[in-house]
């Protein structure tokens, strides 16, 4: 590598890695194929590392003060050992995602990132069902099946299937069952209302996969609330 500079040895998840001094744990992990999620890191503005989103936290196991640190600002040092998969790391990342979701405006039908959204991927990785199938669906406002008169259950169904049906031309049949998340149900009811569907029709379509789920009851309440 660059001549003269002494290489450093660090451990990520037990793997011994060699790296140049001055790099951060995040850089080393990425260049060695270890995935660390992030939302605030911008490769176009590499000099400014905020350490603000706290998604890239890793747990320091040896060679530093034990605890969680953001890997994008943690410089490598000899003998440093970190874990990217420990329980505290998982919990912290999950909480951060959940907190971001709690402030998130659900508008997946109109969102240009629909179908290729880092945040949705993040939610999926951490088992957070706060987003509907629409968030994963690559069809946007104009291409939405609901606009062309096809009753797609995407707006009220749990995400996580990567919207395979709508991606391949079909409609969402709700096979992942109806979400119980109030925000999702409210978003769904509003979307159906916007495209002019009645609540009876939607509930009828739900019979196939969600006949006895709490999500159906939840949807009834949400429909009442928004006046569907």
């Amino acid at each position: 590598m660059t001549g003269g500079k002494k290489l450093m040895k660090i451990k990520i998840d037990g793997r011994e890695l060699e790296c140049e001094p001055g790099k951060t744990v995040f850089d080393v992990a990425r260049s060695n194929g270890i995935y660390i999620p992030t939302l605030c890191y911008n490769p176009m503005n590499d000099s400014k590392r905020l350490g603000a989103c706290r998604l890239c936290v890793v747990e320091i196991m040896e060679g530093g003060r034990p605890g969680l640190q953001s890997s994008c600002t943690l410089p490598v040092s000899n003998g440093l050992g970190v874990s990217t998969t420990s329980e505290p790391v998982f919990q912290a990342r999950r909480t951060v995602t959940e907190l971001l979701l709690s402030e998130h405006k659900l508008d997946c039908v109109d969102c240009p990132k629909s179908g290729d959204c880092t945040f949705v991927r993040q939610c999926r990785d951490y088992d957070l069902y706060g987003v509907p199938v629409c968030a994963e669906c690559p069809r946007q406002k104009d291409g939405c099946l609901l606009a062309s008169g096809i009753l797609c259950l995407g707006p009220v169904t749990y995400a996580g299937c990567k919207a395979i049906c709508t991606r391949t031309g079909g409609r969402c049949t709700g096979c992942n069952t109806t979400s119980v998340n109030k925000d999702v149900l409210k978003f769904g009811a509003e979307t159906f209302k916007r495209f002019g569907y009645s609540s009876e029709k939607v509930l009828e379509a739900m019979e196939v996969f969600s006949a006895t789920t709490p999500g159906k009851e939840g949807f009834k309440n949400a429909a009442k609330e928004v006046g569907l």
């Binding site: 603000a52 640190q69 909480t95 951060v96 907190l99 709690s102 402030e103």
Partner: protein, 598 residues
Amino acid sequence: MTSTDIKKKYEEMAEAGMKRLHPDKPKLIFGYGTCGLAAGCGCLVDVAKELKGVDHVTSHVGCIGLCHIEPLVDVQLPGMPRVTYASVDQEKLKVIIEKHLKGGQPVKELAYAQLATELSVIKKGAINYQKKYDGIPTYQELPFFKKQMRIALRNCGIIDPESLEEYMARGGYRAAYKALHGMTPEEVIEDVTVSNIRGRGGAGFPTGTKWGFCRGSKGDVKYLICNADEGDPGAYANRAVLEGDPHSIIEGMVIGAYAMGATKGYIYVRAEYPLAVQRLRLAIKQARQHCILGTNIMGTDFSFDISIFEGAGAFVCGEETALIASIEGKRGEPRPRPPFPAVSGVFGKPTNINNVETLATIPMILQRGGYWFASIGTERSKGTKVFSLVGKIKRSGLVEVPMGISLGVIIHEMGGGMLDDKGFKAVQTGGPSGGCIPENFLETEIDYESLKKLGSIMGSGGMVALDEDTCMVDVAKFFLNFTSSESCGKCTPCRVGGKRMLDILDKISKGTGKKEDLVTLEHLAIQVRDASLCALGGTSPNPVLTTLRYFRNEYEEHIEKGGCKNTCKKRGASKVAAPSAAGKAPKKTDVPKKGVSK
């Protein structure tokens, strides 16, 4: 000027100060800190100005710590101890002037205490009167002062903060002179390291080690910053030093700058302390006039100068990296460490940040030696700590006690117990970032480690005493509300996590919470503590976590019964009682509109 000239000049100034401290005329002394002024000391000064017919001098001093009985007026006759009169109003002042200042006899029924012997640890310029008045307790006999050991507050309430001579009369700038003329920087750091003093801002990092880091890092310019951004609700220990003894901070900074090789200093003081800013400005001006700041300090080739930076009132700017950003003119947001300020601080240069109390203590460590300081306190926490006692306590005020004293002694002996003789419930130490400690831990010896074990922190020394009527859910909500509104919003856990915790607490205190909420709250609090970027987010869940740990039953009571028997109940009762009391003919003004329609 050569160094011998300077030494001679300082001796002369000290002598002049001694004459100012103990004049051969009757002396009228006003407690002129913010606490005294708020209690109405300004009017008393006006009354005294119109005083005629007696040859006397007037002096304004800082806060001595007895904030619960302000305004304080003292009378000191030549050769006799200073007699303190408490809670003085205009009528009382006239009597005091008539009988004591003019008549020469203290008014025993009004007198609170007499200051016959030195309160603090200083030796040079210590107060020591052979004579004493009968029938008036001395300061040392008062329970409030009995167990105090004053190092940082050595001059507060004793000297006029606007007089450099009086500070010098009590041994001021001797430590700085000794360091600059007789010690190498390494020796100074060695002495501070031996004393084992730990940062008084709350985190408790050893100051000597910190100075060593800064000394060791390379840089053409180094900065030394005094952190006087005291923003905790209920803490005012730093304000007392800033207002009552500004020169002690400057002396500490000169010593620190010499030890680290810093050439530029900042005092980051909050703009809400106008009196402190005014007195600091004057002190810096005086120091510059007398070769204490500027180029070639005290005849050596060492140069150092201090500027004042007024903070705009953001709580997060007390965090050192946010403080640095603020001084640089940027938005006051913390940044991740490393790089530590000792390597890259203000404008990318090596920077050291110390708290007011730490810097005010440094001169005494150099004067009496590190080993002397290390002999005070517990094994791991040395020296003394200033606590500001507030809340539902009989004697609120400032106390400086050796580390290792128990919480119970401070609350029950010095503070005199709870107001209206109510039962004690908990004490919140360390401000909004600290935790509530219940009664069964009152015997704990105070030091950094023991408080941390209890889930609290030392913090800046705020101590809010809570009586039995306090609702702990309300307390947690209050402190969390403060920290979440003071969050800078940079990192997710602190910005959103605080809000969500507040939502849950709101639900619980309104009585609509569920049992699962407690689990969620605890989980969220732990995550926010562990994942936040800076200490503000990392410590903000402490009030929630400690109240959940020690007062879980109160949370459960709220959930099960929709309220608790404490302050909540009173509020709830008034709501319920209003319609029934006015059952026959409800007045619209009495009941909220919603209540009427239902």
